[in-house]
Amino acid sequence: MSNLFDLLVAGLATGAIYALVAVGFTLLWQTSQTINFAQGEFVMLPAFLMLAAMHAGAPFWLAIILGILLSMLLLGLAFKMLLVDPMMRHGVLPLAIATMALAIGIKEAVKQFFSAEASPFPSIVPTGDVSILGHAVSLQSIGVLVLAILAVFGLTALLNRTSLGHQMQAAAQNPTVARIIGVPVERMILLTFLINAFLVALASLLITPIYLAKFTSGEVLGQAAFIAAIVGGFNQVRGAIAGGLLIGVLDNLAAAYVSTQYRAAVPMLFLIAVILFRPQGLLGRAEERTV
């Protein structure tokens, strides 16, 4: 039983990070119909930006701030202005393909300009174990879980409690009507891109100490976030959170109880089952279909 408890905690911790990434993914989809195939690389890059800042002599806290700001500039502003804006009106598929190319570009750039080797990354949470209900639980897992939950709660509060959040939701749900009642839709869309960039930078900060900084580490992460977003409900922020936690736990349990070889198959089979029997996602609303 102690094994199960540990697995659950570890699963929830990685799941919380997946949730952060998945929330950003659904935000982009909702406001601009962007299926971002580079989302995993978006998580991989900020860690290297922070490492670069540290190599340049910045202390860790300053490197974190610089890394987050640079991510928002590159992965938020530049991504939207240079790639999404010119392609948005041409439909979902060409833009999705362009983000696939972007994923290759980011990976190669990191490999070329930083390193092809995995680099260690300092943890913002102190390492060590604490005892909870007689179980030794790593502080890192708890720290990651707490920070991710705080970020998600902050975001939900922003979306549901503030006027700004309501405007963003309006812009996502019905841009035309939102524009008529005076919501600056363009600015709201930009805001979601900046929020996504912030979330991936945060996820990067939390996950890189666990898995090391490597140019390929975005692949697995991107896929996990992708699945989390769909399983939870592509058009729902709280769905993405639930999906992230679920996939994190499922992945850890599958590794322990199914087989290490086929651990990756379990979330995939789950994904197929969800799409076939509940395509709107576990918590999602059915999307309106246009004929």
Binding site: I35, V92, P94, K111, A265, I275, L276
Partner: protein
């Protein structure tokens, strides 16, 4: 695409085909390998173009079918079967699996369908990697023999390049025939407006499954050629990124254009090679080129040509109208 005069088009086609036969004769080993790879990828991309470009069903699993074909060919030919038999099995297997994969397409569309096929792609990769009793696992299968065609050994790079090119020609003719047949029209009806297609009596259910199965079968053909081309296969080339690459080829070349996959495969296989002189930067430049192209023309390379021709036609038509109008005025 009817902007060029027909004889000109035929002449151009003959020159290109003759070029593909004659020019590589004094290529080195590596050049021939790359060119053979282009032919193989063009076949796989043509299959995906049928599924996506003509029938409008998004698939992120074409790479898995190339894998299925490659493993079928590798396993059979290393056990002494001839390659043509292996190709037939590869086609049958990919067709059957593709048919089954088409069932989700009857329920969900667009991005959801893309995700189901993506999941399938990952599952197939896991099977290639883990079922080592069949696929050799991570060690793969080596010493895959190249076939004897009409008693001629194709062990050398040049004869095998002709095998790939010949297969590409056969597949091209078959696809050309298919998209001009009532089936091709049914596929396009499915893409343009499934509801209307159904109300006009097209069995959308059957054609959706067919679009998947035929497209996948061509992926299988490509795989069955890929195995003897590289003579060694392991699971890595058939992971998700191959499916993404193939999708990129179709979109970059121009989805729904017959010649799109040829150009797309050319960009994806040859452009990185041409950019090799930039050393570590070549894939980065390739990515930038693809993004730039898609920003410029989201319908791919042939989309540019198509737009240009359409523009010229409208100009010509409006010139004719102007002439007709002035004549009308002089009569009055």
């Amino acid at each position: 695409m009817s902007g060029f005069a027909k004889p000109l088009k035929i002449a151009l086609g003959v020159v290109v085909i003759a070029g593909l036969i004659v020019v590589p004769m004094n290529f080195n080993r590596y050049g021939l390998f790359i060119l053979s790879q282009w032919a193989v990828m063009a076949i796989a991309a043509m299959g995906l173009n049928l599924t996506l470009g003509y029938a409008g069903q998004v698939s992120l699993a074409q790479g898995a079918f190339v894998g299925i074909g490659a493993y079928a060919a590798a396993i059979m030919t290393t056990h002494g079967w001839p390659l043509p038999a292996a190709i037939v099995v590869a086609i049958g297997l990919s067709f059957a699996v593709g048919w089954v994969l088409g069932y989700p397409a009857l329920r969900v569309q667009h991005h959801y369908l893309a995700f189901v096929t993506l999941a399938f792609s990952t599952l197939a990769f896991l099977v290639f990697r883990n079922e080592s009793w069949l696929t050799g696992g991570i060690y793969g299968i080596s010493n895959i023999p190249r076939p004897h065609i009409f008693g001629i050994a194709t062990n050398k790079p040049l004869p095998f390049y002709y095998v790939c090119l010949g297969s590409l020609a056969i597949v091209s003719l078959a696809v050309w025939w298919l998209i001009r047949s009532p089936w091709g029209r049914a596929f396009m009806a499915l893409r343009e407006n499934p509801l209307r297609a159904q109300s006009l009596g097209v069995d959308t259910r059957r054609y959706t499954l067919m679009a998947f199965a035929i497209g996948s079968a061509l992926g299988g053909v490509a795989g069955a050629l890929y195995a003897p081309l590289t003579q060694y296969i392991d699971p890595v080339p058939f992971n998700l990124s191959l499916s993404l690459d193939l999708l990129m080829m179709v979109i970059v070349g121009g989805a729904g254009f017959f010649l799109g996959p040829f150009l797309g495969a050319m960009i994806a296989v040859l452009l990185p090679e041409w950019l090799r002189f930039t050393e570590g930067y070549y894939l980065m430049l390739y990515a930038i080129a693809v993004m730039g192209l898609l920003i410029w023309s989201p319908t791919g390379i042939l989309g540019i040509l198509d737009r240009y021709l359409a523009e010229r036609r409208t100009k010509a038509a409006s010139a004719l109208r102007a002439v007709a109008k002035s004549r009308l005025e002089t009569v009055q």
